[in-house]
């Protein structure tokens, strides 16, 4: 299976030293450090098909970066197994390196003192990319990311947006089947973000690359990802499509209508409840598990009543994720009391 990612029961425990408070404590820690284990990733399993873009979501410290590090071969798991394009990354790091590209947020892999194009040339030689192919790919990246206007500048003089675009290009220069992006658009302006998204979409749709992305930007998720995996406290909470997530955590839309006849009788519709009424103003909300989507509800309201004005308040993905994170939090603290330790939510 070229370009696929398989993750089975992946776990990672870190051992850290706890510091005792106070000067005396610090001196004591110097002589006899206290070590504790912290489970960063616990029994995580999921698959990514070739040519699929998967968003790995979760609050800060959920274990996303640790997962990505294990999949890129930088970190060995304490248990479980992962395969990236058929290779076990942490066992055959260099073989895996040829199949993957990676960008870690704002950490640049470019050479600080050299013009960007020199960095590209070094990477070309490291990955042994034929010259013609290199030129062609650089041309393609330039069309999408507009690199040529600044690729003769030294990296130290680039703006953040320019640098991250160059880093993206650098990660993809060797035509990797699988791409890992750890918060690639963090801190970028909307124009550059859109450009990067367009680029990623192109890489997935036209080039068939598999992309695993972590981000906190829900617009990005909405624009790019068909499927998301949600983890929290190192455990997998949910693996599904955006629609599934919305259905599970985000059924909180409201339709606000102003009726032409302020005295008209208003009744709940199927799956739609009446939340409030103030004179001609009525507010509808979803009712039960059979609630329609906000757009269906809008249609029903317009068909049923004569309205002069209508507006919708849809819970956007941000709200959905907030709910999801909070519920996952509650679930995992309940989980903590169950000794069996099965992954919350399961898959």
């Amino acid at each position: 299976m070229s370009g696929s990612i398989q993750v089975r029961g992946l776990s990672r425990t870190f051992h850290t030293t706890v510091r005792r408070p106070g000067l005396a404590g610090a001196l004591k820690s110097l002589i006899k450090p206290d070590r504790v284990a912290k489970e960063a990733v616990v029994d995580v399993s999921f698959d990514v098909a070739p040519g699929e873009l998967l968003a790995l979501l979760g609050p800060n410290g959920a274990g996303k970066s640790t997962t990505i590090k294990m999949l890129t071969g930088i970190l060995t798991p304490t248990a479980g197994e992962a395969r990236v394009a058929g290779v076990v990354p942490y066992e055959e790091r260099e073989r895996n390196a040829r199949n993957i590209g990676a960008v870690f947020g704002q950490r640049t892999q470019l050479w600080w003192d050299l013009p960007v194009r020199e960095s590209f040339a070094i990477l070309r030689d490291i990955y042994e990319v034929p010259n013609a192919e290199h030129r062609a790919r650089l041309g393609e990246f330039d069309d999408l990311l507009e690199l040529s206007s600044f690729w003769d500048t030294r990296v130290r003089h680039l703006s953040l947006g320019q640098r991250v675009r160059c880093d993206l290009a650098a990660a993809l220069l060797h035509d990797p089947q699988v791409v890992f992006l750890d918060e690639p658009t963090i801190g970028m302006d909307v124009v550059v973000k859109e450009q990067v998204r367009e680029f990623l979409r192109h890489q997935v749709e036209e080039r068939g690359r598999t992309v695993l992305l972590t981000t906190h930007d829900m617009t990005e998720v909405e624009r790019l990802a068909e499927r998301v995996v949600l983890i929290n406290h190192g455990r997998l909470v949910l693996d599904g499509t955006l629609d599934e997530i919305r259905r599970k955590f985000g059924s909180t839309w409201q339709v606000r209508a102003t009726l032409a006849d302020p005295h008209a009788r208003v009744e709940p519709l199927e799956g739609i409840s009446l939340l409030r009424r103030e004179g001609p103003q009525v507010v509808f909300g979803p009712d039960g598990p059979t609630a329609p989507t906000v757009h269906q509800a809008l249609k029903q309201v317009i068909e049923r009543y004569e309205v002069t004005d209508i507006a919708i308040d849809e819970a956007d993905l941000e709200d959905v994720m907030r709910t999801a994170y909070v519920q996952a939090e509650a679930a995992s603290s309940a989980q903590a009391e169950v000794p069996s330790g099965a992954p919350a939510g399961g898959d």
């Binding site: 030293t17 000067l23 610090a26 001196l27 820690s29």
Partner: protein, 284 residues
């Protein structure tokens, strides 16, 4: 940022504010010291390496003196006073004001921008940014060398001489701080100025420990008026040991070394204030 003097001095009406500032500085220094302890292996390694270093420095300082007796017409016990003064001044500089050295790297990481939004003078924040563990080693070596130099000295150590020596050590510290502050001002504008800082350190270390009259006039002149390292230890030691009139500069100028250090330091602080006002931030 307009007032480098800072908020603490800008409200002179309240008594006890300087005391409060000192207390804050002490508390931060203690926290910094504890932070050094956090990096276990580093701390232990510093202690271990510091011990090796002490031995090698003292060996180095005494080697040339025993090999080249009568260097520059000086008695070797007198010459020893030069490296002792310089190293003690340097140790104190590292302990109290040393954070101006190597600032360029931190500037690139944007620390100045952080300091500028806090209600404490930037220069003070800079000095409080970490605890210089290595100063412990520096000072131990320097103190040992000074004790050695004084015990070998044939001079009559009157109260006046001792006071002058103490003042000179402080003056040397201020002069070194002034030079590095000037480099730090340059790094506010060009982070690459760190390069000059490292060279400055090398020059001070290499040429600060000899009677400079062994050098050709032009070179000695450069180290007096170009890069004034002669004022750190050579002139004070010359005045103390009675070579004050054969240094190539007027006696009063050599004798006024500590004053010059103070003046240079104050001037460098003015330069710092000016540079900070013209600080434009790091790009990106």
């Amino acid at each position: 940022m307009s007032s480098e003097a800072g908020t603490l001095k800008s409200r002179p009406g309240r008594p006890g504010r300087p005391w409060k500032a000192v207390r804050i500085m002490w508390r931060i220094t203690r926290l910094n010291f504890r932070a050094q302890l956090e990096y276990r292996s580093e701390f232990l390694m510093m202690v271990a390496i510091g011990a090796v270093w002490q031995v090698s420095v003292i060996v180095f300082a005494t080697v040339l003196l025993t090999r080249f007796t009568g260097m520059g017409g000086w008695d070797s016990s007198d010459v020893l006073l030069i490296p002792a003064t310089r190293m003690l001044a340097h140790g104190l500089f590292v302990l109290f004001l040393g954070r101006v050295h190597g600032l360029g790297r931190h500037i690139q990481e944007g620390v100045i921008d952080t300091y500028l939004v806090r209600p404490m003078p930037v220069y003070r924040q800079l000095q409080l940014s970490y605890f210089p563990t290595n100063a412990i080693g520096d000072l131990t070596v320097a103190a040992g060398l000074m004790v050695g130099a004084l015990s070998r000295s044939n001079l009559d150590w009157t109260a006046g001489r001792i006071t002058y020596l103490v003042v000179c050590v402080l003056g040397g510290m201020l002069l070194e701080a002034a030079l590095f502050t000037a480099v730090a001002c340059a790094s506010l504008r060009f982070p690459a100025a760190d390069y000059w800082g490292r060279w400055l350190e090398e020059l001070l270390g290499t040429f600060g420990s000899y009677p400079l009259n062994v050098l050709p006039k032009a070179v000695g002149g450069f180290l007096t008026f170009g890069l004034p390292l002669a004022f750190v230890a050579y002139f004070p030691a010359a005045v103390l040991t009675g070579h004050g009139s054969s240094t190539g500069v007027p006696y009063w100028l050599a004798a006024a070394s500590p004053l010059l250090g103070l003046a240079a330091y104050l001037a460098s602080r003015l330069l710092w204030k000016w540079s900070l006002r013209h600080y434009t931030g790091v790009n990106g």
